[in-house]
């Protein structure tokens, strides 16, 4: 298992799932791919299907509509894989903690095993890169 994980950290393929988010986190993630930050230098690639991904990047709160889908997505991800919670919404729901979707809306870690949290509303692209680097360092030992 650990060899597999070590191999995984050499080139992370990321699938980005936007649940009920406000887009900002999503735009910052997309921003990572564009010339100023260009994470493809590090082998990080945004892929179009969860079945090709090593990392599930989740943004936004989980409302009634999203929760079952997030679980389904995670089940489809090839294991071992990582889950990264981007933004305050996913980590602790931030200012949305008291919506009437609250019975169902939970922080992501109640639903999936989260490997890394990247706080911020939205986190800066530098912060996202930092988070991924820390994750890679921790897992790649």
């Amino acid at each position: 298992m650990s060899v597999k994980i070590k191999a995984l950290t050499k080139s992370l393929w990321v699938f980005h799932l936007s649940t009920a988010s406000c887009n900002n986190c999503d735009i910052e993630i997309l921003d990572l791919l564009t010339p100023r930050h260009d994470v493809e230098r590090f082998g990080i690639l945004l892929v179009g299907s969860i079945r090709h991904a090593d990392v599930l990047l989740v943004t936004g709160i989980l409302n009634k509509q999203c929760k079952p889908i997030v679980k389904k997505m995670y089940d489809q991800m090839p294991k071992p894989g990582f889950v990264i919670a981007v933004g305050t919404c996913t980590a602790g729901r931030g200012m949305f903690s008291n919506t009437y979707m609250v019975d169902e809306a939970e922080p992501l870690d109640k639903v999936l095993p989260v490997d890394a949290y990247i706080p911020g509303c939205p986190p800066k692209p530098e912060a996202i890169i930092d988070g991924i680097v820390k994750l890679v360092k921790a897992k790649g030992k």
């Binding site: 649940t19 009920a20 988010s21 887009n23 986190c25 999503d26 945004l46 892929v47 179009g48």
Partner: protein, 410 residues
């Protein structure tokens, strides 16, 4: 015999933005019907706002949409100020205009990039997003955050602009951004392939634009002359000189033209605001909001956003209603997409600049056999391929097209 196939688009998509769900019904290559289901992103913001004070609600509405993250607060504070007819300090009005226009610039850049991507012009995507960064730098210098600026509050703005930094802002806008926008104007509008690809595609006629009450660039591209910045000025829009851009064709090309030319107007507005920025306080510090109703609006990059706030004299709104522009622009798909081909559907859906990367998760399903015939990447590929073929038929060589589009499309 016709054989209709339904293509569900969304609701979850890998690229970005909110989940939305479209259902395209196609017959062969022609789209015959479209249906939209919204509500995937429901977070109960209107209700939540009733539990927050007026100052807190300004933060909340900022999080309705990340790209319009200053449009909603501007509309909201306009609504709250409308209740009491507050006298907002001049400097605050100018700062509002500055943030509003910077946001329009970055939003239009973002649209341009993604539209380029859908057509196979990945170079445009990368360049547009590269030149979006200086705008975000300016916003960060002004507000402290790249997105979600937290600048607005009822009665004024939260942060002042440091006068000594204005030369830097102007330098970024005039020396970095302006040449970039000029470049895009040349690269996009004078490109024969793009013109052939986009002209006459997804036409929204003037009557239809009026019937469907579309807003923003979608309306202005059909010759429907509305812009609330001019029609009912707020902030400092009546104190600066600018003009509303109009096009009459109503096709995707016209929408691109509108957005590119609007960027020039935004730069014009910004320069004037920075020059004229009056001294004085930035906040009139309202002590309380009297009972009553207020309506506020703002011309967001996608069209007019309206907020209606009712106060009962306490520190919270008792009712807060939000109407976002995409809500009005959605139904116009019935007129624009129906009758076009699948390869054009992606760019037409993107043309109103909805929360649009839904199109990234297009999957065609054969209704009867229920098997997937056409995935997301396939549909974008179809769109990019059409551009390539068109270029070839116009006499461009492989190498010229590869240079234009950034890569070869097989």
């Amino acid at each position: 015999m016709s054989h209709k196939v339904t293509i569900p688009i969304g609701p979850y998509h890998p690229l970005q933005e909110e989940p939305e769900f479209y259902k395209l019904v196609v017959d062969g290559e022609r789209v015959v019907d479209i249906d939209v289901r919204i509500g995937w992103n429901h977070r109960g913001i209107e209700k939540l706002s009733e539990s927050k004070s007026f100052d807190q609600s300004a933060y909340l509405v900022e999080r309705i949409c990340g790209i319009c993250s200053t449009s909603h607060p501007i509309a909201f504070v306009n609504a709250v100020e409308d209740i009491d007819e507050m006298e907002v300090p001049e400097r605050a009005l100018y700062i509002r205009t500055i943030t509003g226009e910077l946001e329009r610039l970055h939003s239009h850049m973002l649209w341009l990039g993604l539209a380029g991507h859908f057509l196979g012009y990945n170079t445009v995507f990368m360049w547009a997003w590269r030149y979006r960064e200086p705008i975000l730098d300016v916003l960060e210098a002004i507000s402290g955050n790249r997105n979600n600026y937290a600048m607005m509050k009822p009665g004024g703005v939260r942060r002042d602009i440091d006068n000594s930094e204005i030369p830097y802002y102007k330098k970024v806008i005039n020396d970095e951004l302006l040449p970039a926008v000029e470049m895009f104007k040349g690269a996009v509008l004078d490109d024969p392939v793009l013109a052939a690809r986009l002209k006459g595609v997804g036409v929204l006629k003037h009557e239809d634009a009026v019937d469907y009450s579309v807003l923003g660039p979608t309306a202005r591209a059909s010759g429907y002359d509305i812009d609330v910045r001019r029609d009912e000025p707020y902030a400092a829009y009546d104190r600066v000189d600018w003009k509303v851009i109009l096009q009459y064709e109503g096709d995707v090309f016209a929408k691109a033209v509108i957005r590119i030319l609007e960027m020039f107007e935004s730069i014009k507005i910004l320069n004037q605001c920075f020059d004229k920025l009056p001294a004085g306080p930035i906040d009139c510090k309202p002590k309380h909001i009297s009972p009553g109703d207020g309506i506020g609006h703002h011309e967001a990059p996608r069209g007019e956003v309206i907020h209606i706030v009712r106060s009962d004299g306490t520190n919270r709104p008792v009712r807060h209603k939000v109407r976002a522009p995409t809500f009005m622009n959605f139904p116009s798909f019935k007129k624009t997409v129906v009758g076009e081909t699948i390869s054009d559907a992606t760019i037409i859906l993107a043309a109103i600049d909805p929360c649009y990367c839904c199109t990234e998760r297009l999957t065609a399903i054969d209704h009867k056999k229920n098997n997937i015939v056409c995935g997301a990447e396939r549909l974008i590929h179809l769109s990019q391929h059409k551009t390539w073929d068109l270029g070839k038929s116009m006499g461009f060589s492989d190498s010229e097209l590869t240079k234009k589009m950034g890569r070869k499309i097989e």
